[in-house]
Each structure stands twice: as C-alpha cells, then as structure tokens.
C-alpha cells in the first residue's frame, strides 16, 4: 500500500536525523549526570576549604579570647572587643545554607575582620613558617 511505502521511505530518509537526535539526547543525559557528580565533588571540596578557613579563624579567635580574658587594661579591652566581633560574625554565618545570597560578602567581611584583629594583636596574618613561602592558604 502506498501508505506503508511512504512510512518506510520516510524511515530511511530521516534515519540520519533520527540518529543524531537520539545521540544528542543520550549525550545530554549522560553529560548532565556527569556534571552533577562533578559539581557535587567540587562543591564539597570548596565547602570544605571555606569551612577550614573559617574554622581556623574561629579557633584562633577563641584561643586569644581565652588568653586575654583576665586582662582588664584599656588596650586589652579593645583587643577583646575586636575578637568578640570576629567570633560573633563567624557564629552568625549560615553554614547550612549554600544558597545564602550574601555568602561571598560575609566571607570577605570575616576575612577583613580577621586581618584587623591580627593587626591589633600585632600578629602577622599570613603565618609563614620560617623562610619558606608556603603561607597558610585556603
């Protein structure tokens, strides 16, 4: 029948296009899958890096807060105030929310505060060990 003939011809003529299309769909699906896996790996690595950095600042600040807690002179009170401010900023940071829109901004504020605290405490914020250039990097 002419109808069946047309379909069969159609199948042959459109074969290339159909294979292209199927190939594309398969590739796209595979790519998305791989992308999600890679994204997840990258995200957890990046997140760990941030956590490590902020954790370091927190540990540093808490230690100094402890060391200075008995000091009552004016100079120390300024240092304590700055440390409290840094600790407050870190504790307020939303660790659970990767979609927090002010994440970068808040991180920069924390870094800035950390630098200021180091300046007040007279400590070099880049923690270089000996003469090697390998500073504490995150």
């Amino acid at each position: 029948a002419p109808r069946a003939m047309a379909d069969m011809l159609d199948g042959i003529v459109m074969a290339e296009q159909r294979f292209h299309s199927e190939g594309y769909q398969e590739g796209y699906a595979e790519g998305s899958h791989a992308g999600i896996a890679e994204g997840r790996r990258y995200g957890s690595l990046h997140g760990a890096r941030i956590g490590s950095e902020i954790g370091c600042y927190l540990g540093f600040a808490l230690t100094w807060q402890c060391l200075l807690q008995k000091c009552t002179d004016e100079k120390s009170s300024k240092k304590i105030k700055a440390l409290d401010s840094l600790i407050g900023m870190i504790k307020k940071f939303p660790y659970e929310d990767p979609t927090y829109d002010k994440m970068q901004e808040d991180l920069e504020k924390i870094r800035g505060k950390f630098k200021q605290v180091c300046s007040i405490l007279n400590i070099q914020s880049d923690f270089r060990i000996g003469t090697e250039r390998s500073s504490l990097t995150f």
């Binding site: 300024k78 105030k81 401010s85 920069e108 504020k109 870094r111 800035g112 505060k113 630098k115 200021q116 180091c118 300046s119 007040i120 914020s125 880049d126």
Partner: protein, 328 residues
C-alpha cells in the same frame, strides 16, 4: 613634593622655599631641597600626604608599608610604620579630623587606621569591598566618609557604623579602571576619572530628597549626573576639584592638563588666560611631557586668581608654554 625611586634607593624629597638657588633651573629659583627621607621604604614611594595639621607626613610604598613621619622643622622622624597590606600600597589619605588615616592596596583592600593622643596607630577596619586593585583613597572634605577607586571599575564609599566601617555605596558606570576621585568643596558631588577616558560627576541624594530618588534606609544614594567623554583621548589618571573656584583639573595620558569649569558651579573670568583662543568653559594645556604620573592640584589663591601648581617635573614644562604663576 615627590616620591620616586632612583637607582634602588627610595626617596621622599621635601622642598621648601629658600633664598638660595639649588640645582634647579632658574625658573624654579626659590625652591630648595630641605630634607630627604631615604631610609623609610624599600620600594617605590607611591604617594605622600600631609596631615591636616601639617605636622605629619604619611608615605605609602610598594613595599607594603605606610610610614608616618613627624616634622620637627626640617627634620623628620618616622613615628609609625603601618603594616598589614599584602602587597603594594597605592594611596594614603588623612581624614579632615586628622585622627583617621586610610590606605589602599593592590591586595584589593582599604584599611582605616586611627591615631590617638599618644601617636599610636591602630587599625580599625579592613574593608574588602573591591574585587580588584584599589588605586586611590580620598576623604570627604568635612565628614568621615571615605571614597576609594579601583581597577574593578567602581568607586566605593565607606562610613563608620557601630564601631566598624562598612561600604555604604558602590558607584558603577565607568567601563574601565577608575584611577582617581575628588570631592567637591561642599561634599555633595564627587568627580571620578578613568581609563575609559571619561570624567564622571556623581551627586549625592539624601533620604527624603525633593527629586524623589529612592534611598536605602538612612544612606544617601549617589547617582551619576554627568559624564564628560570625548575630551580626553587617553586614560585620565588624576583629577582635582578646586575648593575655591569649583574648577576641575584633569591629568591625562595624552600629555594634556584640562581645566573644566561649569557655569552652574563656578564662574571664572576669562581674563586669566588671555593668550589662548579658548572655548569659554575649558582650557587645555599641552605639555611636551606625559602627565602620566603627575598630580595636578588647583590651589586656592589669595588674590582671587586661581593658580595651578604642578609637581616639579611638570612645572618646568608648563612654564615654557603657559605663564602660570606658582604658589608662593
């Protein structure tokens, strides 16, 4: 006053008026070198600034430090070395009160320092608002408001809020590095110049303004009200806004200094520049040397006639083309 490295030794030269002729050209007689502060820095001294009281001099260097020198007649003593920036310090500026100092660096941060009665300097804030090299910092003429210009094409403004400093505005519009900013005398306008060859004027709109411009809480909004383009054929490196006449002077990579006057802001009699056929609202001075690194300041004058002063390098060139009298 200039800071320039030569042969590996970084110098800050202090020039004073004197009666002897130094090694300078006869045109500049009257200027002698009073002091050389050669031991303060290990690299280029990029900027120097006098404190409002005149007793202190701050110097910003590529070695990452900012030194504060106290003046005793012609002797200078380094009373503080401000460290903390990770790399080259590009600019330093004193607040009008004299108790705050701001520095900025290639490390993308702006630092605010406070000095107490015992001449002790303390960092009060590290501001990471910019995303690239910060080129210039300047204070508002009467308030504790700080402006910074950066390679990230923006100008940021900062103020104090509850014991800490915050970025309260970001002025966007330039299409390339912003090299310098200058406030108008009243502090309601800001001029910025850029690698995009334009000069922009930004105007401040306070909350509740009659033009109906929306403000964020109690912070004023700054809007670009004028963009001067087509006048400069190269990067504009510096701008200065005369607090007496309202004239704006710009330093440009095309070897010219331009002085812009706006009828609405200040009127300047054209009698001052008689020998040049000029467009009534601007004067262009062409010099034979590039004004790449020169700061141009328009000085207020006692006799109501504005005088423009240049750094020593430029003055020799400028005098040859334009008989401007120098600040005495």
């Amino acid at each position: 006053l200039s800071g320039r490295g030569c042969g590996g030794v970084e110098l800050s030269g202090l020039w004073g008026r004197g009666s002897e002729r130094g090694e300078l050209q006869p045109n500049c007689s009257g200027w002698t070198c009073r002091a050389v502060l050669g031991d303060g820095h290990q690299r280029t001294v990029r900027r120097v600034a006098w404190s409002p009281c005149g007793s202190y001099l701050a110097s910003a260097s590529f070695d990452g430090t900012t030194c504060v020198w106290k003046r005793h007649e012609d002797e200078f003593e380094c009373v503080a070395t401000l460290e903390g920036h990770e790399n080259e310090v590009k600019s330093v500026a004193w607040a009008p009160s004299g108790s705050l100092l701001a520095t900025c660096s290639r490390d993308k941060s702006v630092w605010v320092w406070e000095v107490d009665e015992e001449e002790e300097y303390e960092c009060v804030s590290v501001l990471n608002a910019h995303t690239q090299d910060v080129k210039h910092v300047v204070w508002h003429p009467s308030q504790e408001l700080l402006a910074s210009a950066s390679y990230d094409d923006t100008v940021r403004l900062y103020r104090e809020e509850e014991d800490d400093w915050v970025c309260c505005a970001s002025l966007e519009g330039h299409e390339s590095t912003v090299w310098a900013v200058a406030f108008e005398k009243g502090g309601e306008r800001l001029a910025s110049v850029s690698d995009d060859r334009t000069l922009r004027i930004w105007r401040r709109y306070n909350p509740g303004n009659q033009e109906g411009i929306a403000c964020n809480g109690s912070d004023p909004t700054w809007k670009c009200v004028c963009t001067l383009s087509g006048y400069h054929s190269r990067t504009i490196y510096d701008v200065s806004w005369c607090h007496l006449t309202g004239a704006l002077a710009t330093a440009c990579g095309d070897d010219a200094i331009r002085v812009q006057l706006h009828q609405g802001w200040a009127a300047l009699s054209m009698k001052q520049f008689p020998q040049y056929p000029i467009n009534p609202s601007s004067v262009t001075l062409h010099c034979s040397a590039s004004v790449l690194r020169t700061s141009v300041e328009a000085e207020p004058s006692r006799r109501n006639r504005p005088r423009v002063s240049f750094s020593r390098h430029m003055s020799l060139m400028a005098l040859a083309v334009f008989p401007v009298s120098f600040l005495e």
